[in-house]
């Protein structure tokens, strides 16, 4: 345990707290994993298309995307379970493209956990250490350390089929951490857990990663999970990486429609640029909606753009209207009560329904909006994102 934690303190640069600059913002930082121009074709299917990505030491990096976007293929290439059709992969400065899985300093936690059914928990965790021909005493010590780390000491004599889903997940994690890999790959690590356990485990996983300081690369299709855990997220689609950034930046400043609508829910307004005032541009939306938006990009007049506004950035008029805020009026069509918040679908034109999320600060009975009520919503120019792709 001691060795693990010590490693963590020296190697942990992922959150960038020490230098005030995150590793990926520092031009002099050396990437720990470098993926350069990697493609993977399965016959006619291009699972990955010219993917390049740098991952830095101590990061909790998430590959996020829908099914079939190539995220799992990329993870398998890192593990060495598959070889790229084109391109190279470096881990810790070594070109590992042609190194088989069993010789890479990388371990993986499989989506199905892939625990050996004929071995006890203890033997499962010990498996990788045996392959290294580690002396018996040292092995026993390491196994104990791992079982303690994940609080599964009392399960050591059980077999995988005698464990619950959450317990299996811990055993799989212990097994993949036992060899002290420098890079841990996690394929949908929480996919098989129920929602409550998943939320709990998300935080635990992050704490664990911060404590031991290993670089984590995880694959997930759950954007909430990626947001909670990651230092950075790569959003993937159709075998390509669309955007790589911190969860906050991805959420607040998506670089295209696909990312904006994949991460969280979003209102998209189509329109054309028709004017500029200082840092703001004016967009004429369909249905005679005029919007004012913060945009430093030089966009010529007449450029077709999409304006993305998050539902929670919408406020009710006249609650708190600043100067230059955008307004739109419509009729409440649907209300989804989620307890902490309510989601309102407001029809603002025959073709456009705007989603607005409002925190339920009052008990439900005193709610201010009802069906078919006419409402005016407002959002400030800095809350909308102008997308050209």
């Amino acid at each position: 345990m001691a060795s693990l934690v010590a490693e963590g303190q020296s190697g942990h640069t992922g959150q960038g707290a020490q230098e005030g600059l995150a590793a990926w913002q520092d031009p002099t930082a050396k990437p720990y994993v470098r993926i350069a121009g990697v493609s993977r074709h399965f016959g006619e299917v291009h699972a990955l298309n010219d993917v390049s990505l740098d991952i830095y030491q101590g990061e909790f990096f998430s590959l996020l995307g829908g099914s079939g976007c190539g995220k799992s293929t990329l993870l398998r290439l890192l593990a060495g379970l598959d070889t790229p059709t084109r391109g190279r992969i470096w881990i810790d400065g070594v070109d590992v493209t042609d190194i088989p899985a069993y010789r890479r300093p990388v371990n993986m936690m499989f989506q199905s956990y892939a625990l050996f059914p004929h071995m006890t928990v203890e033997a499962n965790v010990e498996f990788g250490l045996r392959q290294e021909r580690m002396p018996k005493a040292e092995r026993a010590e390491r196994v104990g350390e791992m079982l303690d780390l994940l609080h599964i000491g009392e399960l050591r004599k059980r077999r995988p089929d005698q464990l619950s889903g959450g317990q299996r997940q811990r055993v799989a994690l212990a097994r993949s951490l036992a060899k002290h890999p420098k890079l841990l790959l996690l394929d949908e690590p929480l996919g098989a857990l129920d929602k409550k356990l998943r939320t709990h485990t998300q935080f635990e996983l992050v704490k664990l990663q911060e404590r031991i300081g290993i670089t984590f690369v995880t694959v997930t299709h759950d954007q909430e999970e990626a947001m909670t855990m990651s230092s950075r997220i790569a959003v993937m689609d159709a075998g390509q990486i669309i955007q790589v950034d911190t969860p906050g930046a991805i959420y607040e400043y998506p670089n295209c429609r696909m990312v904006a609508s994949f991460i969280g829910s979003v209102n998209l307004f189509e329109g054309k640029v028709f004017g500029r005032e200082d840092n703001d541009i004016l967009v004429a939306g369909d249905d005679f909606l005029v919007m004012r938006l913060r945009c430093l990009q030089p966009l010529s007049l007449g450029t077709p753009v999409t304006v993305a506004v998050r539902p929670e950035k919408m406020r009710l008029c006249p609650e708190c209207q600043g100067p230059g805020d955008n307004r739109v009026t419509g009729r409440v069509e649907d209300i989804a009560y989620l307890g902490n918040v309510s989601i309102y679908h407001v029809r603002v034109s025959p073709t456009q329904v705007v989603t607005m999320t409002l925190a339920n600060m009052q008990p439900r009975t005193e709610q201010m909006l009802t069906w078919d009520q006419e409402v005016t919503m407002t959002w400030s120019p800095s809350c909308g994102v102008v997308l050209t792709e």
Partner: protein, 325 residues
């Protein structure tokens, strides 16, 4: 065999849900008379009674009799010597002879030996075949399995006869080797124990391949990926993961080969020579040539006893393996 396996799985499933099986038992006992259920359950038992247990009793009874030249060719166990005296004559001499006689003992040992060698042979050839089929692309599996099963569509006897044509002095094999210049004079394979090994391994290979295939095709390939990921070379991954997980298949296949081979008659009779002494042949000789039904029956029962012991032992081991899973 396969019936046993599914039964074992059911039992296993039941033991995992004790409350449920308990309920089901109560429900079953308490249910009103359902003839369909009793027929379904009773039919196999009736079948076993009629075609296994009754013949067994008859053979057992004959084994305790003495041969005589009459119809039937053995003495009765029960005889009225007087109006009020019922005489029971149990002749244990047949068993004594079978156990003590050098020839019979050699035949038993050789039968077990042939069974062992051929089971190992089938395993060594059958395992790679089953593994290759199980890991072949989906669309290849059925054709490959068909190739294993296809020879069964021809009579077993004819296939063994075909081996005579291959193995004999101027047969296919010898001519081929002579033509290649590998040998100068024909090898004497036919009518030796080697020919028996070849014939038996050939004939019983599918019994090994099919259960192994059934087992290996269920193997989760991500387990091998996990082993590789943890630093295991492919060969070690096979030894540490694939092999232990396929033990139930190995046991099932071995039992399916070993048990019939020990009592095999046709193959040693057609391909074997004077050195390939096997119980099946002895039994045949005693029964048909020497007309000594009691001795033949005793031989059959000793053979059965010899086979039941390893069968029960392996079966228990297997169910323990399955239970651990």
């Amino acid at each position: 065999m396969s019936m046993n396996q599914t039964a074992a799985e059911e039992i296993k499933a039941d033991s995992q849900a004790p409350a449920y099986s308990d309920n089901r038992l109560r429900h079953w006992l308490g249910s009103r008379w359902r003839p369909g259920r009793w027929v379904t359950v009773g039919l196999p038992y009736f079948w076993l009674l009629l075609f296994f247990f009754l013949p067994f009793i008859i053979v057992f009874q004959i084994s305790l009799a003495e041969p005589q030249i009459a119809q039937p060719p053995y003495t009765a166990l029960l005889e009225w010597v007087d109006e009020a005296v019922l005489q029971v004559r149990l002749n244990l001499g047949n068993y004594a002879l079978v156990v003590e006689d050098e020839l019979y003992r050699a035949a038993f040992l050789n039968s077990l030996w042939v069974g062992l060698v051929c089971t190992l042979g089938c395993l060594l050839i059958g395992y790679p075949m089953a593994y290759a089929i199980a890991t072949a692309p989906e669309r290849w599996r059925v054709p490959l399995l068909m190739m294993i099963i296809l020879p069964f569509w021809t009579s077993f006897l004819i296939r063994v006869y075909a081996w005579i044509g291959i193995l004999k002095g101027n047969g296919l094999l010898n001519n081929f080797l002579l033509a290649l210049g590998l040998i100068d004079e024909p090898l004497a394979i036919l009518h030796t124990q080697t020919a028996v090994y070849i014939g038996v391994v050939y004939s019983y290979l599918p019994f090994m391949v099919l259960p192994l295939y059934a087992n290996l095709s269920r193997l989760d390939m991500t387990l091998l990926e996990a082993a590789a990921d943890l630093g295991c070379r492919p060969w070690r991954a096979f030894l540490r993961v694939t092999l232990p997980l396929s033990l139930p298949g190995i046991l099932a296949g071995s039992l399916l080969v070993f048990i019939p081979v020990v009592g095999e008659f046709v193959i040693p009779d057609l391909l074997g020579g004077p050195d390939s002494l096997m119980v099946g042949r002895m039994l045949w000789t005693e029964f048909f040539s020497n007309k000594d039904w009691p001795l033949a029956s005793a031989l059959a029962l000793v053979l059965l006893a010899l086979l039941v012991v390893p069968f029960v032992a392996l079966q228990r081991w297997q169910s323990r393996l399955e239970g651990e899973r």
